[in-house]
């Protein structure tokens, strides 16, 4: 038999893009379970439509527009679909979701050359596009616990963040933790999201620099503002809205976050500050998506920061 010849190394860790994406999907499942419990059929339908249309658009664009081999097997379209759904209210009409998916995959991802080349998180591109185009539908969140059979007919109400913005918050931290609040699909339960994030950290899918620096910065900044008499307290800030979802799942997206440790920390600090600024001083109650998109734009610049090099000559004291 003829022997194979290739340059070293001759073994591989066995890691693959599919496996990485699979881990992200697994990590998102607990939060998805909570949203099914809270929002019932609506959550199921929104997720199904979002994921299916993301995968379909990716397939169609690659097949007919770009005419290259399909990469839907790497599961990244499913991750985009899931994340997009997580950022939508569970009573969103189906056609808006499809538009969101088209923008996310078509503009957010494929127009830049597909996975790995997109400068902005595709799911967030889709979400922000919808938020600007359909502000009414995108900001009427159904209340939780209305029974299973509700989709577009669900009763709606304000989210905790909206309540904070107009100064009428009376919700216990317990509810925030397990998800007894209104809001987008994936952002309601802090505990479920943290379980997923721990899984991602444990499998080495993400590193802790980005989540920790985002949450840490947001906490410190909020505490300072709170001490000056502005805004809400730290725990509410961290547990409400898409803070944890954004910090652990959206900001850590491989292609759109910086690659070195220092870059990732700066990236996280930026997101933390911008989010709190928008939440406390902007007209939108939620600022996570905008903060991530803004810092995504800075990523190429942050990627110029080089990692600590072994044996770099030390600067001599003069």
């Amino acid at each position: 038999m003829k022997k194979l010849i290739s340059p070293a190394p001759h073994i591989h860790s066995g890691d693959s893009v599919t496996r990485r994406m699979g881990y992200v999907i697994l990590a998102l499942l607990p939060a998805w379970g909570v949203s099914l419990w809270q929002f019932g059929l609506g959550a199921l339908l929104v997720t199904a439509i979002s994921v299916a249309s993301c995968v379909l658009f990716e397939f169609l664009i690659q097949r007919f527009l770009l005419k290259k081999a399909s990469t839907i097997g790497d599961l990244s379209a499913i991750v985009t679909g899931l994340l997009l759904a997580f950022n939508l209210p569970s009573n969103l009409p189906w056609w808006i979701i499809i538009i969101g998916a088209l923008v996310a995959i078509g503009i957010g991802k494929m127009s830049f050359g597909g996975l790995g080349n997109n400068p902005f998180n595709p799911a967030l591109v889709g979400r922000v596009f919808l938020l600007i185009s359909f502000p009414a539908q995108m900001t009427s969140w159904p209340l939780p616990n209305q029974g299973f059979m509700h989709y577009m007919n669900a009763e709606t109400g304000a989210t905790p963040l909206a309540k904070i913005a107009n100064g009428s918050l009376n919700i216990s931290l317990n509810d925030l933790l397990i998800g007894q609040t209104g809001g987008s699909l994936g952002e309601v339960s802090a505990i479920a999201l943290i379980i997923g994030a721990v899984f991602l950290l444990a499998t080495g899918t993400i590193r802790y620099y980005i989540p920790v620096s985002i949450l840490g910065t947001a906490a410190v900044f909020t505490a300072i503002l709170h001490a000056c008499g502005i805004g809400t307290d730290v725990l509410t800030q961290l547990l409400t809205g898409g803070m944890i979802l954004g910090a652990c799942f959206m900001a850590t997206d491989y292609a759109t976050s910086p690659m070195t440790k220092l870059g990732q920390i700066i990236f996280g600090v930026g997101i933390g500050i911008i989010t709190v600024l928008i939440r406390e001083f902007g007209i939108y109650p939620e600022g996570m998506s905008f903060a991530i998109l803004i810092m995504n734009a800075v990523t190429p610049l942050l990627n110029r920061l080089t990692p600590r090099r072994f044996g770099a000559p030390k600067k001599k004291k003069q």
């Binding site: 003829k2 194979l4 010849i5």
Partner: protein, 275 residues
């Protein structure tokens, strides 16, 4: 009413200021340049292939103007037509060069050159060359991973998907030499081409002794000197068990091709020989 007035005044003012600033800057940093450089650049093909030995067409034009003559300067892409125009701009006599073409001095496919192993690394000739001998026993032959094809700006090089043989289209080839530089095994020669894009060359670079070369590849030049003996024009030299046909001396009589026992001599754009 005042709003419109202020707007016009402000925008007009900003515009005027910017125009003045641009004007002054342009004046300040103006570089006096020989207009012939631009003229020559305009006549050049602007492929920026580097075939002339300069970084690009602009640099070539600068070199022509600063030297004032065309010694050792030739745009292989544009050929005589472009060079006579350049000479015209410089006001000097044009020198003509012979048309050239790139040839790949290996024509072994898998049928002629049995493989001894399978390469599984990145498909790149430089990587394979740094690693080992290649998939066959011939340490001189073509890998077929297409470094030359990637380096060609004119789409002149193609790789037959069936046989893996790399070939140059003499119509498209401008003899810029990029492929010759890209080939880690130095298989590509830039040589004279005759009328109707015809040329005769030895399609092998194997310097091993005849028996060794033949064992590795059926189409190898075995250095048997038959072609040298039959050539009436003294165009063929044999060095290190390998024949070479001097493109300038060759009259393309094809006697060498007829006699070659391994059919290593190829004649391009001729009718097939009747043997």
């Amino acid at each position: 009413m005042y709003t419109i007035l202020y707007t016009i005044l402000l925008l007009g003012g900003v515009g005027a200021f910017a125009a003045l600033a641009l004007f002054l800057t342009a004046k300040q940093f103006h570089v006096q340049e020989d207009s012939r450089i631009g003229d020559i650049e305009a006549t050049l093909p602007n492929a920026n292939c580097g075939g002339c030995g300069y970084a690009g067409c602009r640099q070539f034009a600068e070199a022509c103007v600063s030297a004032g003559n065309l010694e050792n300067k030739r745009c292989p892409v544009g050929g005589d037509a472009v060079m006579s125009q350049v000479a015209g701009i410089l006001g000097i006599e044009a020198t003509s060069g012979s048309p050239q073409v790139a040839v790949i001095r290996c024509a072994a496919d898998c049928a002629k050159r049995p493989t001894t192993n399978t390469y599984d690394g990145a498909k790149n000739c430089k990587i394979a060359n740094a690693l080992y001998i290649g998939e066959s026993d011939c340490p001189y032959g073509c890998f077929g991973y297409g470094d030359c094809k990637d380096s060609c700006q004119f789409g002149a090089i193609s790789i037959d998907p069936e046989t893996g043989i790399v070939s140059v289209d003499p119509e498209k080839c401008t003899a810029c030499g990029a492929c010759a530089k890209a080939c880690p095994r130095h298989l590509i020669e830039i040589r004279h081409k005759g009328p109707k894009n015809r040329f005769v060359y030895v399609a092998c670079s194997n310097k091993d002794k005849g028996a060794v070369a033949r064992k590795a590849c059926e189409a190898a030049c075995i250095g048997c000197t038959k072609c040298q003996k039959v050539c009436e024009w003294d165009a063929i030299t044999i060095e290190n068990n390998l024949a070479h046909i001097d493109g300038d001396k060759c009259r393309m009589c094809r006697k060498c091709e007829q006699g070659c026992p391994t059919k290593a001599i190829h004649a391009v754009n001729f009718k097939p020989l009747e043997r």
